[in-house]
Amino acid sequence: MDESRPIFVQIAEQIKNDILAGRMAEESQVPSTNEFAAFYRINPATALKGVGRLVEEGILYKKRGIGMFVAPGARQRLITQRREQFQAEYLRPLLAEASKLGISSQQLAEMIAKEGVR
């Protein structure tokens, strides 16, 4: 865990990444908060807060007495969400760095083409 950001945010991100990458399938059960707490060595209340945030976002849902499950359609919703964040989190820092280094937008376009978007 990165010590400089709220851990519950990081737990929520980790679960989202697992869903995006297909490591946690929709309708599959996710580990309990105590299992998360033991695995990441964090306070169980913090793990609960991370999982709770995903329930609020509709990414996970609770089956009473059984546990937490990945919601149907969660992966597609996460992809949409991440695409919206892409500009702020990747594109703008990239452009700021390019401008610091005097890379023109045409040079940048060439570099991207050379790397090749899969």
């Binding site: 865990m1 010590e3 400089s4 950001r5 709220p6 851990i7 519950f8 105590n34 707490a37 033991a38 990441y40 060595r41 964090i42 306070n43 169980p44 209340a45 913090t46 807060k49 700021a96």
Partner: protein, 298 residues
């Protein structure tokens, strides 16, 4: 989130002659949370815990544990476990005697759990306590603190001399057992980076006063270090709560609290770099007393 308070302290002060070890402390401890009591040597951590467990008399102020006065109150103290850095044992005691006598003091003692911990920490049962190494002595304290399963458990610097493996074992067993048997834990420590993820609430004490009384997650990421050209940094932090300040040539590094999203955007637009501050660094900045000196000389 609020819960049931198990400890309530109001205007608590303890003086030893000219020294004020605990100075007008008011705080409340909520049931079944893990607290970190952080601070420098001599900040008042141990004195505060001694007061809360009825081992010292307050000079002034009030302490209520489950609504009762803790001093000489068996009803309260039988449900409180206090693991001290310098626990004393009878001279002829062997390790096994410590664990054999523990159930007399702790109503919730779990002998099976204690036996598993004794194996985990590789404590030699037949050795005399006074022949133990510092680390083994600490291990006995840790085992007693965990296996007592007291509804309120204090650990005062419990890991002195414990190696990294044993400390990790302590953190893992504490978390696992706490998850199964929730209870209030107050852990005083210098090793902030090591334990910070275990904590739900943080108390920082300095010169006998409580400087920080805050949810651990709220604190994480609450401070930011700003790096950039001196003039730009100084302009940006002008009206802010500065925790730490240093510089190198025309470059300035300043740590501040409470940046909003729009503050961050403004700083980035001004060409300033932002870096988050860990809990340990935050505590160091708040208790080192350096920022004020530097601000005066700046």
């Amino acid at each position: 989130m609020t819960g049931t308070p198990v400890i309530q302290v109001d205007g608590l002060t303890k003086r030893f002659g000219q020294v004020t070890a605990v100075n007008n402390v008011t705080l409340s401890v909520t049931e079944n949370k893990i607290y970190g009591l952080l601070g420098r040597n001599g900040a008042g951590k141990t004195t505060l815990m001694q007061l809360l467990t009825g081992q010292e008399f307050a000079t002034s102020g009030s302490i209520r544990v489950w609504g009762e006065h803790p001093v000489e109150n068996a009803h309260v103290l039988s449900r409180v476990s206090f693991i001290k850095e310098s626990q004393k044992y009878p001279d002829d005691f062997k390790v096994k005697h410590v664990f054999r006598s523990a159930p007399w003091f702790f109503a919730g003692w779990d002998a099976d759990f204690a036996a598993r911990l004794i194996e985990d920490f590789r404590v030699p049962l037949d050795r005399r306590v006074k022949k133990l190494s510092r680390g083994q002595l600490s291990a006995i304290g840790v085992i007693a603190g965990l296996a007592s399963r007291a509804p309120i458990t204090f650990f005062d610097e419990p890991y002195l001399g414990l190696d990294a493996v044993a400390r990790q074992t302590f953190y893992d067993r504490l978390l696992a057992d706490y998850a199964e048997y929730p209870r209030t834990v107050i852990l005083s420590t210098h090793l902030i980076d090591e334990v910070s993820a275990l904590l739900e609430h943080v108390l920082v004490i300095d010169e006998g006063r409580i400087l920080i009384d805050e949810d651990a997650e709220t604190l994480r990421g609450s401070a930011t270090t700003i790096v950039g050209a001196r003039a730009a940094v100084d302009g940006f932090v002008a009206d802010r709560d500065v925790l730490h300040r240093s510089g190198l040539g025309g470059l300035s590094t300043v740590t501040v609290t409470g940046l909003s999203e729009s503050d961050r955007a403004a700083a980035a637009a001004a060409g300033l770099e932002l870096a988050p501050v860990s809990l340990q660094q935050l505590v160091v900045d708040r208790t080192s007393g350096i920022p004020t000196e530097l601000e005066q000389s700046a």
